[in-house]
């Protein structure tokens, strides 16, 4: 019985992991398909407008 219970635990845990594997796999596959297209088409990097990243936050008491 102990072995069956152990396997059941593992089986159940795998069921929890399934959505992560599915969504991770689908997005990885679509990203791979887009990769070649993007590499050819993009002129600058994602955030060419670097000012978007300039707002260094200040600490609360400054």
């Amino acid at each position: 019985m102990g072995v069956i219970a152990h396997i059941a635990h593992w089986y159940e845990s795998l069921l929890y992991a399934l959505p992560m594997v599915v969504i991770g796999g689908v997005l990885w596959y679509t990203a791979r398909k887009e990769r070649g297209r993007e590499a050819e088409g993009e002129a600058g990097w994602d955030g060419e407008d670097d000012s978007r990243w300039d707002d260094e936050p200040r600490l609360k008491d400054d």
Partner: protein, 481 residues
């Protein structure tokens, strides 16, 4: 390398046996469908939400959301609330040293691990940054500063300036230390040892406040002030110098910019809660005991061998969560940007992955809160009821029948039936789902601020995977007993 990290992360998840919640006081659930179906359902809801956000949410809007002024609260109220915080701190120390040395009968352990660690953030989630006024260290620091200012008649030297690059790193280190005490320290259920640690904590912070000034020190180095402050950014109420404002929940997190160390604070909160769930499970609990027994053969005491294994597990859990989030941030960049980051083209480099993690750290706060609420809900619901009883009899003295103690509540008992196991499960699922949807919304809104529109939604695909992993892992920790 990030791909290797992602693979190792997946292997770590799959290799872990089923775990139960460490603080579980939950009875048997009677659910209409198996618990793993909730994980599938939650994942579907997240995926649908993600695509709906991409289609319908085209401009950053959270930071510009208007607040409504509700009214003012008298400034003098800070004084009694701060005094209450100091009184509770004093009571915790006295009870720890002078009270009955049984953790459930002494005020100190419940005050620290239930009242402070779980109760205050839950209250902050509802009413705003409560700890900013309740914080006993801040109250003591301000009172001391006031007295010293009067005595020295303005001749007090200026406090030292703490370098900005330190940011909230001291708070992150403090939070990790607190988690270690909660999860691995052998004396964690010994009231007198806890009292010694509380005194040490006060001494360290008193020295810090005297050197750097109360506000500067507390806002950077007090782990509870920093973490609870982040939790309060999700609250519908904001307090600013006595004025109360109403705003949509979670908007505060979109407005606040993370400083160095903030991402570490959130990752420590998520990682240590994850380890708390893992280490409390039946199978991993047995495994840690077996490893500890092996280590004990080398001459280390059994107690410290166990502490060593629990410490390593906690560090690994924080490292796993960190690796997952870094992999998600790396995934935000397009392949072209990654090449530029590697320096193989002469154009401006994109932000580093660590910068991305920091910029998107506020969107991880709802996940940290969801994990904490899900994990500690039953602890708060049941053990929280012991607080009024312990407040009336903090030292755990034997009372005559009918003697209600200081506040008349010493004879109160814990009602374990007021919340069913099913109700707890549904609340846990709701908390996890709400937290992860809030995280997706915050992350999407921040991406619209940071990335060009055409890439903003796409940049968040990796964060969707991170959210699904956190949701399924959270539900697995709570249910796969």
């Amino acid at each position: 390398m990030p791909r290797l990290i992602a693979l190792l992360s997946a292997a770590f998840l799959l290799a872990m046996p089923a775990a139960a919640q460490a603080h579980g006081l939950v009875g048997r659930r009677d659910l209409p469908v198996p618990a793993w179906m909730f994980a599938w359902g939650a994942a579907i809801v997240l995926i649908v939400s993600f695509f709906a956000l991409g289609a319908l949410w085209r401009e950053p809007r959270l930071a510009a959301t208007k607040e409504r002024r509700l009214g003012r609260v008298p400034a003098w109220l800070e004084l009694p609330i701060g005094a209450l915080g100091v009184a509770l701190l004093g009571l915790t120390i006295i009870a720890g040293f002078a009270g009955l040395q049984i953790d459930t009968a002494n005020f100190a352990p419940t005050a620290i691990f239930v009242g402070l660690w779980v109760g205050v953030p839950v209250a902050s989630l509802l009413v705003g940054d409560l700890y900013a006024v309740l914080n006993p260290l801040r109250a003591l620091g301000r009172a001391t500063g006031w007295v010293v200012g009067k005595v020295a008649r303005g001749q007090v030297p200026e406090p030292l300036k703490m370098p900005d690059r330190i940011g909230h790193w001291p708070a992150a280190a403090g939070l990790l230390l607190f988690a270690w005490v909660e999860l691995a320290f052998p004396g964690r259920s010994d009231p007198s040892q806890l009292a010694v640690l509380v005194v040490l904590f006060c001494v360290v912070h008193a020295v810090g406040m005297s050197l750097y000034g109360t506000e500067a020190w507390i806002s950077r180095a007090d782990p509870f002030a920093v973490w609870f402050g982040w939790v309060a950014t999700l609250a519908p109420l904001r307090w600013d110098r006595g004025t109360v404002y109403l705003r949509p929940p979670a908007v505060g997190a979109a407005r606040r910019r993370a400083v160095p160390g903030d991402a570490a604070v959130v990752l420590v909160a998520i990682g240590t809660t994850t380890w708390d769930g893992l280490s409390g499970g039946d199978m991993l609990g047995t495994a840690t005991a077996d490893i500890a027994a092996q280590i004990a053969k080398s001459g280390l005491s059994a107690t410290w061998s166990n502490a060593l294994v629990l410490t390593l597990g906690m560090v690994l859990a924080v490292a796993f969560v960190t690796a997952l989030v870094f992999a998600g941030a790396w995934g935000m960049l397009s392949p072209a940007a990654r090449r530029r980051a590697a320096g193989d083209e002469g154009r401006p480099a994109p932000p580093s992955v660590s910068r991305l993690v920091r910029d998107f750290a506020p969107s991880l706060v709802p996940i940290g809160v969801a994990y904490a609420v899900g994990h500690y809900l039953s602890l708060l619901a049941f053990q929280g009821q012991a607080l009024p009883q312990l407040l009336s009899n903090p030292l755990g003295r034997e009372l005559a029948p009918g003697d209600g103690g200081w506040l008349g509540t010493a004879q109160w008992t814990i009602d374990y039936g007021w919340l069913s196991a099913n109700a707890i499960w549904y609340l846990q699922v709701a908390a996890l789902l709400a937290g992860h949807i809030a995280s997706l919304v915050l992350s999407h809104d921040r991406a619209l601020e940071r990335f060009p529109k055409r890439r903003a939604a796409r940049s968040q695909r990796a964060m969707l995977v991170v959210a699904v992993v956190f949701t399924c892992t959270g539900l697995w920790l709570l249910s796969a007993v």
